[in-house]
Structure formats: structure tokens, C-alpha cells
């Protein structure tokens, strides 16, 4: 596939923004200023960005508890997200949702989800709506190797197949469902795509640590679904660089595993090497983006710290649209 300079710069910026956002959270959580559960997406950036770079705002995605990457890739405001994670009034969800419940319907991000497997049926609903709209739009469920074992995911895949709606099931196999390996928990010999095929849909497989492979493989899938062929699935082989949640001691990791993953399976490193070796972008250009992104994250954290707490008087607001 051919990418122009702006596309490459944009893709790198979005992946770098996710990485910097997550790494900064990893550090800030240790200060005790951020409470609750935070599940970091670092390591999987090529999946969210490689896919969302091909979507419009009218294509809807549903995300997971590990949702920051999907939010940023789909266009959620980074500062609003940071404020949300800090539990502040200016947060994208007014401090009511927190890390696991970030949504922005205006950019087609229907919500992160604290329930593993909660999103897949909702993507089918988005696909039902998309088909009625008749403009080739799609509904996408991001799921992990954990969610691939939930009944909701099975039901959603079957419903999508029998109703022939433009739903896309993206399985990000980072090889750990919480603290259990896919070699144990995914009964189909750690192969998730074959399950989707078993439900009667076409499935693709790609290297989820490679932006270009993810992008080009998903492009084929997207063309197939947009053309009205019904649902499809893709399994991305990817890695998470942190624990299941922040604070996870990760005793399940092999010796030197994280160092090896950072060395061999870092999508940002791979992207940088590929585009500089091909002389498509210079190291200086990428370094400049790194600096800009770090500055943005610095600002986001500073603004989140300075923002007001939500007003407790509104604790029970927005439960309903219409009250009686």
C-alpha cells in the first residue's frame, strides 16, 4: 500500500500519542493522584491506529476496559480523556466514567466497557443502524483474547452472520486474559480467527505490532464489509507492555519477556525503522513529533491536575433524559 507523508506523520503521531499517554499514566498512577482501575494499551497502538485511520466519524466502534488507545485513535480529545481519568469536572464524561467508561459519540466512539465481552453485541446494533443508513458504514467491536471467550461475543458473531450486517469483530490477541495465557484459555489452540470462521464469517489475520500489516490487512476486510458482504473478523497478534491493570505484579511473565517484547515487538520502533530506512520520513521529523506529543501530554496532565472536581450537587444528574 502507498502512504503519503501526511498519512505517515499522522499515523506516527497518533501511535506516539497513545504510547506517551499510557506511559505517563503508568508514572502518574504511582503518585497516588489517579484512583481506581487503569488498564494500559501500550504495545497495541498499531491495532487501534491501523484500523481507526481507515474509519470515518460515521463508523462506530465499541471498545474494552483497555480502551484509551481506541479512544485516541478514533479522535477523542486527549486532554478531556486525561481529565476524565483524573476524575475532574472537565473530563470527557464529567468525571462520572473514569478510565473504563470513556465515550464520545460525536467521533463514533460508543464507549469503553468495564465488562469483558460487553461491547460485541452493541457493535452488531451499530451495524444494524449502519445498514439502514445505507452509506457503507460499519460497526466495529474491539475485543481481546479474554472477551473472545464470552458468550456475548459468540452470540454477537452469530447474530451478525444471520442478519448479514456490516459488523466487524477485531480480536486483539495480546496473549493474556488478565493473568491467564491464551495457550490455556483459548481452546482453539490460541487461534481466535478460526472461531469467527466457525461462526460462518470470513476472517483475516495480521501482525498487530506492525502498523503496515494491520492497515493493509484491515483494508481488505473493510472493503469486503463496506461492499455489503456481511460481517467479518480479524485477529491481530499483539503485545501489551504493562500488566492487566496498573499495580499488577505480572508474575506470569517469563524471564526477560518484557525486555524482549520491547526490543522485538514495539510497533513504534518498527514504524520508525521502516519509514526512515525507506527514506519516507526523517528521524528528525519523527523526533519533532515525539517532542510535540510529550508537550501535549505534559499539558494534559497539568490541566487535569488544575481542573475542578465535579460538583457533588450533581451526583445524581443525567440518570435520565426526561424526569417526571
Amino acid at each position: 500500500m502507498q502512504f503519503n507523508r501526511d498519512e505517515l506523520l499522522g499515523a506516527y503521531r497518533r501511535m506516539k500519542t497513545i504510547r506517551a499517554f499510557e506511559e505517563r499514566l503508568h508514572d502518574e498512577i504511582k503518585t497516588g493522584e489517579i484512583a481506581g482501575f487503569t488498564h494500559l494499551y501500550a504495545g497495541q497502538e498499531a491495532v487501534a491506529v491501523g484500523i481507526c485511520d481507515q474509519l470515518t466519524v460515521d463508523d462506530k466502534i465499541v471498545s474494552t476496559h483497555r480502551g484509551h488507545g481506541h479512544c485516541i485513535a478514533k479522535g477523542c480529545d486527549v486532554k478531556g480523556m486525561m481529565k476524565e481519568i483524573y476524575g475532574k469536572a472537565g473530563g470527557l464524561c464529567k468525571g462520572r466514567g473514569g478510565s473504563m467508561h470513556i465515550a464520545d459519540l460525536e467521533v463514533g466512539m460508543l464507549g469503553a466497557n468495564g465488562i469483558v465481552g460487553g461491547g460485541a453485541p452493541q457493535a452488531v446494533g451499530a451495524a444494524i443502524a449502519a445498514r439502514l443508513q445505507g452509506k457503507g458504514r460499519v460497526g466495529i467491536a474491539f475485543s481481546g483474547d479474554g472477551a473472545c471467550n464470552q458468550g456475548t461475543t459468540f452470540e454477537a458473531m452469530n447474530l451478525a452472520v444471520v442478519t448479514k450486517v456490516p459488523a466487524i469483530f477485531v480480536f486483539e490477541n495480546n496473549h493474556y486474559s488478565e493473568h491467564t495465557g491464551d495457550a490455556y484459555a483459548v481452546g482453539t489452540s490460541n487461534d481466535i480467527a478460526s472461531r469467527a470462521e466457525g461462526f460462518g464469517m470470513k476472517a483475516w489475520r495480521a501482525n498487530g505490532c506492525d502498523y503496515f500489516d494491520t492497515y493493509s490487512t484491515f483494508a481488505q476486510l473493510l472493503e469486503y464489509v463496506r461492499a455489503g458482504n456481511g460481517p467479518a473478523a480479524i485477529e491481530l497478534d499483539t503485545e501489551r507492555f504493562y500488566g492487566h491493570f496498573e499495580g499488577d505484579p505480572q508474575r506470569y511473565r517469563g524471564k526477560g519477556e518484557l525486555d524482549r517484547l520491547r526490543e522485538e515487538r514495539d510497533c513504534l520502533k518498527a514504524f520508525r525503522a521502516r519509514v526512515t530506512e525507506a527514506v519516507l520520513l526523517s528521524a528528525d521529523e519523527l523526533d519533532a513529533i515525539d517532542s510535540e506529543v510529550e508537550a501535549l501530554i505534559d499539558e494534559a496532565v497539568a490541566e487535569a491536575r488544575a481542573d475542578d472536581l465535579p460538583d457533588p450537587a450533581g451526583v445524581a444528574d443525567d440518570v435520565y433524559v426526561e424526569y417526571y
Binding site: K94, A103, L105, G125, E155, V321, Y324
Partner: protein
């Protein structure tokens, strides 16, 4: 005014509203029926006969037969609602809430709040509920109290054809998730239904009787059972204020409190076991807010703390009866 039964009121309202608003879609098991069979689509038109003709008129993209996958049905409704549609999802039996609860409780009920009030989820879930047809422990329950306890949901229980039309129309035009309970023994209840555009506001109890001696609060099938009790009590000169709640969320607390302030005596009738029930909820609310008006402890007429049995006589023993309602009224009136 046309005379029709509750089933007909629901069918005609669905037809009228789907014609009026192209964003309304219907999905559920056998809402069409017959897909993939020799008989072909519309072989059934809804197991309860509440969706005939929809598929033929509005087509397979708006009237969607689903596999037996309740989580996917409700979840797809939630996702479609977030995407600008107004889905009507049918749960063939309210008991199947158990299969799909996460999508109701953790998902559609909470979207608006969790997402900072910037979204809405205008989904209607139709739930067929209630005992009385010997459908036993897993197909007879009245699970409205459980859903009433969940912030973000509205809970609706029509008992007349007019209310079926008015409340369903209100549900379909509102922007919140609505749990629309249809009692399986009430589908054939006939009555006058206003023509044309007719909406019944939520949170307004229907005053069925005004008698002044005792306040009886009921919903669903228990309303007609309370009327039977009222007829017998009336023969003895005892007058009943009977309120049909219409909706349990929102709850018309004012109507209940105003009546109790006049009568000083409360009986709550609830077709479900007593613990954490609607009866307990209303009795507690009245005890807290109208304590000085009460002349007797509130009485709860409920089913026993047991699953619903199959055998005809056992099921009848389980369901609160007009006799039990009558006895409870006499008991609170005799309290000194």
C-alpha cells in the same frame, strides 16, 4: 374511541409509530417467525401475536428475527440506540432478563450517566411476564422490582388497552431505556382506546377507585384482583382508593401519599415474593413519609418467598388472590 384488547393496542401502536418514525426498529426471537423454514417468514408473527404484519410492511432491515440469543438482542438494541435508532427489543419471557441482564443493567441503563450526560439510549425492551398460565418457575416471574431498582431504567406496566397504547407511545417517543412489561394473562383485556395521537405520561398513577377508607396500591394483574376485592368490600360499605401505578419507575409517590393521608391505611399488592419487592419499597416509602397519617401498619399482599410452582392449584396458592387482598384490607381496618 375504538374498542380493542391490549394485544391489539400494542400491535396497532407499533404499526403507527413505525410508520411515523423510520428510526424505530423491532428485533427479537420470532418477532417475524418462520425464517429458514418451509413455511417462510411471518409464519408466526410473534409468539404472543404482538408483531403481525410488521415484517411485511417494514421489511427485514427494520423487523429483525434473531436467534435465541438474549444478550445479543438487548446488546444490539443498546448499540443501535447509541447509533441513532429507536429499537424495540422483545424478550419473549421477562424471565430471560436473567440471560441478558448485563446488557440491560451494566450497559443501556448506565450509558447516559457514565458518559457524562452526553448520550441517550432510547431503547424499549418488551417483557412478557406474570403467573397464571401454569408456565412454572422460569416463565412466570414478575421481575419489575429488580429492574425498578436500577437507576437509568424506566419501568412500565400497562393494565388497560388505552394505557398500553399511551404508555408504549410515550416509551417510543422518549429518549430513555424503557422496560415495557406485558402481563401474559392481560393480552385479551378489552377496553376503549383513544384514537390518533395519544400519550400517557409516565409517573402518573391511574385512580381506579375512590372509596376513602383504605388505600390499595397495585400494578399489573393485581389491579383487577384488587377490583374484585373492592367489589366484595363495597358490599360491606368499605370504600377502597385503588391506584394502578402504571409505572414503577418513575413512581407516583404523590398519588400514594395523598391517598394515604386521607385513608390512613395502606395495602400494597405485588405479584412477586416479598423480600426487596415493590410492596416492601412502597410500604417503606409510606412509613417514612406519611408515618403520622398512618392508623395501621402498612400491609403487603405478596406471593410467598418461593419460586413459582407448576400445578394449577399450587400456582393459584402462590399468586396473591382477591381473597387475600380482601383479608388484608379487613385486617388494616380492624387495627386499633
Amino acid at each position: 374511541m375504538a374498542v380493542m384488547n391490549i394485544r391489539e393496542a400494542i400491535v396497532s401502536t407499533l404499526h403507527a409509530e413505525m410508520e411515523r418514525d423510520e428510526d424505530i426498529i423491532v428485533l427479537g426471537e420470532d418477532v417475524v417467525g418462520g425464517n429458514g423454514t418451509a413455511g417462510g417468514p411471518e409464519a408466526i408473527g410473534g409468539i404472543w401475536g404482538t408483531s403481525p404484519g410488521l415484517w411485511e410492511k417494514f421489511g427485514p432491515e427494520r423487523v429483525i428475527d434473531t436467534p435465541i440469543s438474549e444478550s445479543a438482542i438487548i446488546g444490539a438494541a443498546a448499540g443501535a440506540a447509541l447509533s441513532g435508532k429507536r429499537p424495540v427489543a422483545e424478550l419473549m419471557f421477562a424471565d430471560f432478563v436473567g440471560v441478558s441482564l448485563d446488557q440491560i443493567w451494566n450497559q443501556m441503563a448506565k450509558f447516559r450517566y457514565m458518559f457524562g450526560g452526553k448520550t441517550k439510549c432510547p431503547a424499549v425492551v418488551r417483557l412478557v411476564y406474570g403467573a397464571g398460565m401454569q408456565t412454572a418457575a422460569q416463565h412466570s416471574q414478575s421481575v419489575y422490582a429488580m429492574l425498578t431498582s436500577m437507576p437509568g431504567l424506566k419501568v412500565v406496566l400497562p393494565t388497560t388497552p388505552a394505557d398500553a397504547k399511551g404508555l408504549l407511545t410515550e416509551a417510543l417517543r422518549g429518549d430513555d431505556p424503557v422496560m415495557f412489561f406485558e402481563h401474559k394473562t392481560l393480552y385479551g383485556v378489552k377496553g376503549e382506546v383513544p384514537d390518533g395521537d395519544f400519550r400517557q405520561r409516565f409517573g402518573e398513577a391511574r385512580v381506579v377507585r375512590e372509596g376513602g377508607d383504605v388505600t390499595v396500591v397495585a400494578c399489573g394483574r393485581m389491579v383487577s384482583f384488587s377490583e374484585k376485592a373492592a367489589d366484595k368490600l363495597g358490599a360491606d360499605g368499605i370504600g377502597m382508593d385503588l391506584l394502578d401505578l402504571r409505572t414503577t419507575s418513575p413512581l407516583d409517590e404523590d398519588a400514594i401519599l395523598e391517598s394515604v393521608e386521607q385513608t390512613g391505611r395502606l395495602v400494597v399488592v405485588d405479584e412477586s415474593p416479598p423480600r426487596c419487592s415493590l410492596a416492601a419499597d412502597i410500604a417503606a416509602m409510606v412509613s417514612e413519609r406519611a408515618f403520622t397519617s398512618l392508623k395501621a401498619p402498612p400491609a403487603m399482599v405478596t406471593a410467598p418467598h418461593s419460586p413459582i410452582p407448576f400445578a394449577r392449584n399450587l400456582e393459584r396458592a402462590w399468586v396473591p388472590s382477591p381473597q387475600k387482598i380482601e383479608d388484608a384490607v379487613r385486617r388494616v381496618l380492624a387495627f386499633r
